[in-house]
């Protein structure tokens, strides 16, 4: 009985292909939009999550220069206000698990006939702990390298690929950074994009002292651009932040009422708000797409109502030969469900295809989760039943003789 009715529904759909197609179109667009939007939204969330994980946890960054409402203002011409000593002092505060002073710049690097422009970080061995970063190969330089300012370098994946290619093992090779020869001793693991979209693997790490003396000149010896600080837990971060502020104001002899000559930023909370923003965006996208699904459902109802009117006589004939109310109800309901099912299926295929295309064209992360597919499907089924029910019931409640008389 059910099989026969399914067959009939299929038949009825085939009988008026254009109308069936137009009805489905609403569903196709609705489901396609939901799948596509969710893929983009969830992809954005996923890439933010990855960036946050790659950043390191419970991070502060202390920058030279004061903050204004517009952000950090780094006095470029002046000496950076932060000293290596500040970093050491911060490291002695309670609740700090690692500290790394960082000086940085960009430089041309050369290996053989290859050259590449990249950012150079001069820092301490603790930098890797702060960033929760591991080496893929080789070893990290040590404190003694800092003391004697040796010319050793740890290189990121992107750098390695660009100057060594896939064939050559970088470890032990000598590269030139600003003409100065450095020995590559370590290769960093890939970290991917940062929150602001930079390639974190396009970098070289060298000992702080080497960077200060051999690469970026001796203009401001002992000064650093920034200090990265990792707190032990997320809970103590507010306390640690005010401790750092107090400590540095004291060390920099800043009087009450005067502005700081540094700024402390809680990267983790920045990251969390970025995550929150993308989550909201994903929800919004999903909500907008759901509206089109709703519109698709109303389209189905529209067509089904027309179909009931148009087929009143057919309904009368069926009733005259023994169809019960529930048989007619089922017939029209099934038709609505079959239409929304196929609309959903096509929408799903187009949505996934569209998402893959968007991913290829924009390099954005897209994520098609089973959940979003399941959601789209169940919403489509619900929409089909919900909007199919009213016309179906209308058909089922027709009086047989009146339906038969209908012309």
């Amino acid at each position: 009985m059910f099989g026969a009715m399914l067959g009939e529904a299929w038949h009825a759909m085939g009988a008026n292909r254009l109308r069936t197609f137009l009805t489905m179109l609403g569903m196709v667009i609705g489901v396609g939009a939901v799948v596509l939007m969710m893929a983009i939204g969830q992809g954005a969330q996923e890439s933010v999550k990855q960036s946050i994980n790659s950043m390191g946890s419970n991070l502060f960054i202390v920058l030279s220069g004061s903050t204004t409402s517009g952000g950090a203002r780094i006095g470029t011409g002046n000496a950076p206000s932060l000293k290596v000593g500040d970093a050491t002092a911060i490291g002695e505060l309670e609740g700090i698990s690692a500290v790394a002073p960082v000086t940085m710049g960009t430089a041309q690097i050369v290996f053989g006939s290859n050259n590449w422009n990249t950012s150079i970080l001069g820092t301490m061995p603790s930098y890797l702990d702060v960033r929760s970063w591991n080496l893929a190969d080789g070893y990290m330089f040590s404190d003694s390298d800092i003391r004697s300012a040796t010319r050793v370098a740890i290189i990121g994946k992107t750098v390695a690929q660009n100057i060594f290619g896939d064939e050559i093992d970088p470890i032990g090779k000598t590269i030139r950074i600003k003409q100065t020869p450095f020995t590559v001793v370590g290769l960093l693991e890939g970290k991917g994009q940062s929150l602001d979209g930079r390639d974190q693997d396009d970098t070289i790490i060298v000992p702080l002292t080497t960077a200060q003396r051999k690469l970026f000149g001796g203009q401001f010896p002992g000064s650093v651009r920034m200090i990265m600080v990792q707190a032990e837990t997320a809970e103590i971060m507010p306390a640690v932040e005010s401790d750092i502020n107090n400590l540095l104001r004291q060390r920099h002899n800043i009087r009450e009422g005067n502005d700081n000559d540094f700024s402390v930023r809680n990267l983790t909370s920045l990251a969390n708000s970025a995550a929150e923003t993308t989550r909201t965006m994903a929800l919004l996208l999903g909500a907008i797409a759901s509206v089109s699904l709703l519109v698709g459902g109303i389209g189905i109802m529209n067509i089904m109502l027309v179909s009931v009117t148009e087929r009143t006589r057919e309904i009368g004939i069926r009733m005259a030969i023994g169809a019960r109310e529930r048989d007619i109800l089922m017939q029209f309901l099934l038709e609505a469900i079959v239409i929304s099912f196929f609309g959903c299926l096509i929408g799903l295929i187009l949505g996934i295809g569209g998402a893959v295309l968007v991913g290829m064209l924009t390099q954005a992360t897209i994520l098609i989760s089973g959940n979003s597919i399941l959601l789209a499907f169940s919403v489509a089924a619900a929409v089909g039943i919900f909007f199919g029910f009213y016309p179906a019931r209308k058909a089922a409640q027709l009086n047989p003789i009146e339906a038969l008389r209908y012309q």
């Binding site: 009985m1 099989g3 026969a4 009715m5 038949h11 009825a12 009988a15 006589r313 057919e314 009368g316 004939i317 069926r318 009733m319 005259a320 030969i321 023994g322 169809a323 019960r324 109310e325 529930r326 048989d327 009086n399 047989p400 003789i401 038969l404």
Partner: protein, 246 residues
Amino acid sequence: MTESQKKAGNVIRVRGLHKHYMTAAGPFPVLKEVDLDIAYGDYVAIMGPSGSGKSTFMNILGCLDKPSSGEYTLDGYQTAELDGDALARVRNKTIGFVFQGFNLLSRSSLLDNVSLPLVYAGIDKAERHARAAVLLKKVGLEKYYHSMPNQISGGQQQRVAIARALVNRPNLILADEPTGNLDSVTSEEIMALFGELNKEGITIVLVTHEPDIAEHASRQVRFLDGRIVQDSQRGFGELTAEAGAA
């Protein structure tokens, strides 16, 4: 002998039946105090001028419409007491209805049209098609199983409709002007088919305007202005006397 022939008594028993339609000008009476008994295996032709209420009466007999008042007992059941599902069951199993306009589903093949009542009887596809094929063969359409209704003639369409009415083995066939849309030769063919069915024991009630069609039946009943004014079984005088008394 079939079961219906063995049954004694009446397949149809109508008492004091009234029907009025609601119109803008108020209730419009169409059937007035109709009494009628039809025995199992009978073959009845209903005649009467246009507008005398024949179709209205047939629709009530076919459980497609309900009387305004009065009693209608079908196959031993008080139809007034049956709910929607039970009435659907009666239309499906007890009665086969044949319309003047054939009323086939235009988008279904003949085989599917004939097997449709079996769908609502919950019979599986293989048996449905087997039974429909047997009936199409019986009405002489074995070459047209997969044709569509618009590919065959009116007479052939009416045969399909009769096959459909028979497929669930009803013991009552109700036909409202089954030959109304057919020429006289085709009409004779259809009437021959009805005659055969009646010989098999199926009760037949048909409406017709044509006396020579009515001749095929074993009993003629005449409607006039919503009443039965003549019944070949009861004699003319009896009825006019009743009508006069009423």
